[in-house]
């Protein structure tokens, strides 16, 4: 029998292990409390509300079971809304990621004044989203700045935010310019972390630049690509202010994405129960997409720690 197992031995309560554990819990407590109060409890409440019909004006709150989920299945607007969300997300992810990678490669050069260029491309990220979007709403008006520039080269620009063909593109481009700097910086950090010896060895072997990029750069920065793709897709599904300011979901319902639709149902039409159900749907979509991306890391991510 060991000494510690002896019934007579008095083991102090505050062992080093327990002290370390307590310190750990204290360190994570603020974040944990924040997550419980501002994420988990609201999530539970939203699910609770989704089982009710809540008429704010009449001050009634009635349990309706799965009625709102039944409504979700037969809502005639929902397919269009989900399609608009998918188009926005696909457009944003493709444009944002490819432009960010291109900019990062360009910004990785050792040129005089490169820091100024990096700052310029990153600066929209720190600008207020609403202010940024309002400025763009003026630029994209039929008699706004963009069409003014086009007219200087003899091109008559379209009514960007009012035509079904251009409204979604406009919203995507405004969002890309706003946030491409963030992904660019993340890619730039990853590029600068790639070992230079690999490139030197490739150059000695006579590998062309594109082959170096495909065989060395992409695999080396693949963990960052995974991270940015998750952030960008989740962000794209939560787009709201840009739609509210630029198009109000129009023309027709062509730019009515899921978050804007749930805002309309809950806050404009006062169908808070159905709005909550739509937010549960959004949560599930985001969760599933993130899970799929996370699983795909085994195939696309190399050098993951």
């Amino acid at each position: 029998m060991s000494a510690s197992a002896s019934p007579n031995s008095k083991r102090p309560f505050w062992t080093i292990a327990r002290r370390d554990a307590a310190a750990g819990y204290i360190f994570i407590a603020p974040q944990l409390l924040g997550t419980i109060i501002f994420v988990l409890i609201p999530l539970g409440l939203v699910f609770y509300y989704s089982l009710h019909e809540w008429n704010v004006l009449a001050n009634t709150f009635t349990f309706v079971g799965d009625a709102n989920y039944q409504l979700l299945l037969r809502d005639p607007n929902l397919p269009q809304v989900l399609w608009a969300s998918a188009v926005f997300s696909a457009g944003l992810v493709v444009l944002n990621m490819s432009l960010a990678l291109l900019l990062a490669v360009l910004m990785d050069q050792k040129l005089k004044g490169i820091v100024v260029f990096r700052t310029l491309f990153f600066s929209p990220v720190v600008v207020s989203l609403v202010a940024w979007t309002i400025v763009w709403s003026f630029l994209l008006q039929v008699n706004g700045g963009i069409n003014g520039l086009l007219s200087m080269i003899g091109v008559e620009g379209p009514n960007w935010l009012r035509q079904p063909g251009t409204a979604m593109i406009s919203v995507v481009v405004v969002q890309v310019f706003k946030n491409v700097g963030l992904n660019m910086i993340l890619f730039l950090a990853a590029l600068q972390g790639a070992p230079k010896e690999l490139y030197e060895a490739a150059r000695v072997d006579g590998a062309p630049a594109f082959k170096q990029f495909r065989r060395i750069t992409l695999p080396m920065i693949s963990p960052t690509i995974l991270l940015t793709s998750i952030i960008t897709i989740v962000g794209s599904l939560q787009v709201f202010a840009q739609i509210a300011i630029l198009t109000k979901g129009g023309p027709g319902v062509s730019t009515t994405v899921l978050v804007y639709y749930l805002y309309q149902q809950a806050f404009q039409f006062n169908f808070f129960g159905y709005g909550s159900t739509l937010s549960i749907l959004l949560f599930l979509i985001v969760a599933v997409l993130t899970f799929i991306q996370w699983q795909m890391r085994k195939r696309i991510v190399f050098y993951e720690n």
Binding site: N55, A58, N59, V142, N159, R162, P251, F267, Q268, N270
Partner: protein, 423 residues
Amino acid sequence: MTHISNLKASAALAGILLPLAFGGVAWAQDAVNLRMTTWSANEAHMALFNGIAEEFKKTHPNVTVTFEPLPFDNYTTTLTTQIAGGNAPDLAWIFETSAIDFVSSGALVPLTERFNAVEGYNLADVTESATALWRRDGELFAYPFSTSPFAMFANTDLITAAGAKTPSELIAAGEWTWENALASAKAVADAGKDGIVIRDFNYQNWQNLTAYFRAWGADAWSADGKTCGFNTPEMVEAMTVFHNAVFKDGSLPGPGENVDFFTGDAAMTVTQISRASLLPKEDPFNWELVPLPAGPVGTYSVVGQAGVGVLSSGKNVDTAVEFLAFFTNAENSAKLASFFPPARASLLNTVTLASTNPLLTPEQIENVVINGISTGNVVAGHTNYAQIQQTVRAGLDALWVADADVAAVLDNVCTSVSPLLMR
């Protein structure tokens, strides 16, 4: 010893804090902060409201009234969100289009008995027609503090410079029709400025077009609210003329163009007289205010109404009702009449309105305000108005392109909105 010291110290601390605490409680009970939401942040309006609140404070020193302007575009949404979040204001302006939802839901406190109990408050002076929208089963739920006819402001400098006829010239010739108004607007647009602005329409808030399409005898839905009116022959005709004016003649600014009459950039604007306060004081232009042009149905008038109600979910219902009675008594209604045409019969005369509207001539007051109110019909509202508004907006978006098939688009609007009207 230490224990006794602690006890003494605690007693001393309690001796200091308790009276303060009770004093604080007493103070907190007495002080009442009333919040009233508005959709105007106009300085002149706010100065008038704050002046009335200061007067109220003289007899109610513990009551402070704060006027909280909310953005016009999202006014009702913001208001209902405040209610849902447990932060309802005590009093709120309410659009005529939302009146049915607010009045029928129980969101507002009944006022008839409470107003009649206020000494000197003559509710009978408030006209029946003005309160029709705000009553249910004979009970008043909001006070129609503004019954404002839509009218036409015109920039006569721009119109004369374009060689066109001004509205007053057309009226004198008996030719004040939409056709001629649009012709004058086209002349101004051809000269490089803009024609007629339907204020606050912005190709989104289509209900503001009511002041236009009723000239053709068209309306958004039937009087009982059950039948869609967008595909009637009258509406198709009205919208065809409108579409041509936008996309062929250029006599109305198109979608996505920001044009403000009050900065001097447009020939005319359809709006309510409360907007007279926006007329520029520096670098002014010559202007006139005239009734809406006649249409195929002849002369007509459209009235916009705003009510003020006390929210039953507010924290100070009794004090809020007291303030609303003060805010809308005969004396204060006369003050409010400088911007918001009153619902009181005793104030609806040229003498009163001329004294509170120095910008308007007695003739303008008689022709535009008094005649407009007495003959006008209110903009149509409906239950679940926000959803209907949004559905029609989405449908009408297809109309605001140059090659739109007007009749087909309007048919589609009715297909979308009819199920909502039938609810």
